[in-house]
Amino acid sequence: MEPGKNIIVIVDDEEMVLTSLSSFLNLETDYEVKSFTSANQALTYIADNEIDMVVSDYLMPEMDGMSFLAKVREIQPDVPRVILTGYADKENAIKAINDVGLFQYIEKPWDNEDILIIFRNGLEKKQLMRKLNEKIEQINKAYGELQGLQNDIIKTFV
């Protein structure tokens, strides 16, 4: 894995969707695309590797997209989750999206430009989240140090 590259996981039971999307992303971006026709295989991968974004089909035979993304959230909560839907009942899909807390949904047939924007935003969000987390960690660390210092001072005087 090249350092600094964003890792995108794509899951769809249809090979043709995976090929199209990954070819597009490979050609147009420098993301590293990992595509899976099986949600379970994707979960195994995610358990072992830090990823930056995940896209899943809505209707799949093995596990439906929503359950899959819910599991991804458990493993890596900060990863932006995107659902890809060809399902006619958009309303229900949107409702589900709100329930699971997704970053975005993409309708089939998708528009490549839209996808680029969504990915860019998603990754940016992830980046910001990471930075935010780093800052929080720094603050916590500083706070911890401060507390240690305080303790030292108290010890000195008591």
């Binding site: 249809e14 060809g86 009942d89």
Partner: protein
């Protein structure tokens, strides 16, 4: 007085004849002494009637023949005849020694007989006759009683072909026609009926006939006269009229008929409604399964469509990039200026452009399908009429294309609250009908506007073959079609009507073979459906 021998003989003979007559007579004959009322002579029939032998009768005062309670009267009768010398006729009773009684009709007369005045009585046994008379009288009274109780008017008159006279009127008839009011109709039932009705009397009188007439009187009362004629053995004609006041009955009959008709038409209405509901239901079910089918198809198509669209886009990008490179100054001259390469570039560019339009068209159709068959039938939604029209038009486009010019005159409309797929169904059915009504080339105009009463109006006009008034009357009936079985189900417009009514809207049609057809749909923005 000189009486010759022959004269004497003649007298004797005559006396003998007279005696024999008396002896054989069927009536009891008594000769009675004027002075004391004693019986002087009696014939054998007298013995029979009184139940006494001749020896017992002779010398018996004549009143002794009567029962005790009549003796006074009997004496009076005798005394009167004696005093006045005049005859008398009356009925009295004889009592016999065995106490049995008979009624006798007594004819008394004073006669001179051989210089003596005597009373002669002829007594006829009328017991049976009187009993018969009494019985007949009772019968008569009984019938009169019964006839008076009859709820119909009964009148009998005789001599109807000479001078009619009333023989009998029962009480009901009198009530009907002899009431106190001055209405002339209410008098003379017999004259009225006989003279004013156009019955050929001679014809009727020729046979024993019966006929009925209804007569309406000035006061609105309606009477039914049943008139029958009888010719009695003595050649006199009788007419019996049975008169019924059928005013109430007729009114009831009319009411009944009317309510019957009302009922029938109500049943008819309900049946039609039911049939409409049924066909709407069948259609709704069809639409529901169609909706699911369409949704499934849309989903299935969208996946390969997504791949195709994405790839085409990608192909286009890199193809352009590739040629940009090939045609750039960096490239060696023979390649850069190869005319075959240029031609290739142009052609492929054109083809990818076509691919893009074709794909966009597929996307639009699938979207229309999805919009058309939205699965949100359970809930009412706010609906953009124009979007509905457009998605429906996309679906019927193949029927219109090249043949029919579409003119849209869309006004400003608010969203309306409705079941979108149902309203789309309405548009679809009307548009399909319109396109079918246009034989060759023609125009369909869709006009929409919003009126002051917060109603949305959608008007579809076509310049197709139009309809005769007879057809227009029936187009909303379920199953009515002019398209022949197998082609049209005739359900289209009945469903349209059902859906519009369910949305508290109205639909009107104007049509003629010259002008084509216009359907005007009015929908409230908010309905209680």
């Amino acid at each position: 007085m000189d009486i010759s021998q022959t004269e004497l003989t003649r007298l004797r003979q005559s006396e003998e004849k007279y005696r024999r007559m008396i002896e054989m007579a069927n009536d009891a004959i008594f000769s009675i002494d004027v002075d004391n009322g004693q019986i002087l002579e009696a014939n054998p029939r007298a013995e029979e009637l009184t139940g006494r032998a001749l020896e017992k009768l002779i010398g018996l005062p004549v009143w002794e023949l009567h029962p005790a309670e009549e003796i006074g009267r009997a004496k009076n009768l005798f005394n009167n005849v004696v005093a006045t010398g005049q005859g008398s006729v009356r009925d009295m009773e004889f009592i016999r020694p065995d106490k049995s009684r008979i009624i006798v009709n007594i004819n008394s007369a004073m006669v001179e007989f051989g210089g003596h005045r005597i009373i002669q009585r002829i007594c006829r046994d009328v017991t049976a006759k009187r009993a018969l008379e009494a019985e007949s009288k009772t019968m008569h009274q009984f019938f009169e009683y019964v006839l008076n109780l009859m709820p119909v008017g009964l009148g009998l008159k005789k001599d109807i072909n000479a001078t009619p006279t009333i023989v009998f009127e029962n009480r009901k008839l009198q009530e009907m026609f002899h009431s106190d009011d001055d209405d002339p109709d209410h008098n003379h039932w017999y004259l009225d009926c006989k003279e004013s009705e156009c019955v050929d009397k001679r014809e009727i009188l020729g046979v024993n006939g019966i006929y009925g007439i209804e007569k309406k009187f000035h006061d609105g009362k309606l009477f039914l006269f049943n008139v029958s004629y009888y010719k009695m053995p003595d050649e006199t004609w009788y007419e019996l009229q049975m008169v019924q006041d059928i005013t109430d009955q007729r009114k009831m009959e009319n009411d009944l008929r009317r309510s019957n008709e009302e009922l029938e038409s109500r049943v008819e209405d309900r049946t039609r409604e039911l049939r409409q509901k049924q066909s709407a239901l069948a259609q709704a079910e069809k639409m529901a399964s169609l909706g699911q089918l369409v949704a499934g198809v849309a989903h299935e198509i969208n996946t390969p469509l997504g791949a195709l669209k994405s790839n085409n886009d990608l192909f286009n990008r890199y193809f352009t990039r590739l040629f940009d490179r090939l045609l750039s100054d960096d490239c060696p001259e023979p390649i850069r200026n190869d005319p075959d390469l240029k031609k290739l570039y142009e052609n492929i560019s054109n083809l990818t452009a076509v691919n893009l339009t074709a794909l966009d068209r597929i996307v639009a159709i699938v979207n229309s399908l999805r919009l058309f068959a939205r699965l949100d039938r359970a809930e009412k939604d706010s609906f953009d009429i124009h979007k509905g029209l457009e998605s429906t038009l996309t679906l019927v486009n193949h029927q219109l294309k090249g043949r029919i010019e579409l003119i849209r005159e869309y006004g400003q409309l608010p969203s309306i609250s409705c079941f979108p797929n149902q309203i789309n169904q309405v548009f679809m059915n009307i548009l399909v009908n319109a396109s079918q009504a246009i034989d060759n080339k023609g125009t369909i105009r869709i006009k929409t506007w919003y009126d002051k009463n917060k109603r949305v109006i959608i008007e579809f006009s076509d310049d197709g073959q139009g309809m005769e008034p007879k057809v227009v009357e029936r187009i909303f009936d379920p199953g009515f079609t002019t398209k022949g079985s197998g082609i049209g189900t005739g359900l289209g417009l009945s469903i349209v009507h059902q859906i519009i009514t369910d949305h508290d809207g109205t639909i009107e049609v104007t049509s003629s073979p010259e002008q084509g057809t216009t359907f005007k749909i009015v929908l409230p923005v908010i309905n209680n459906h």
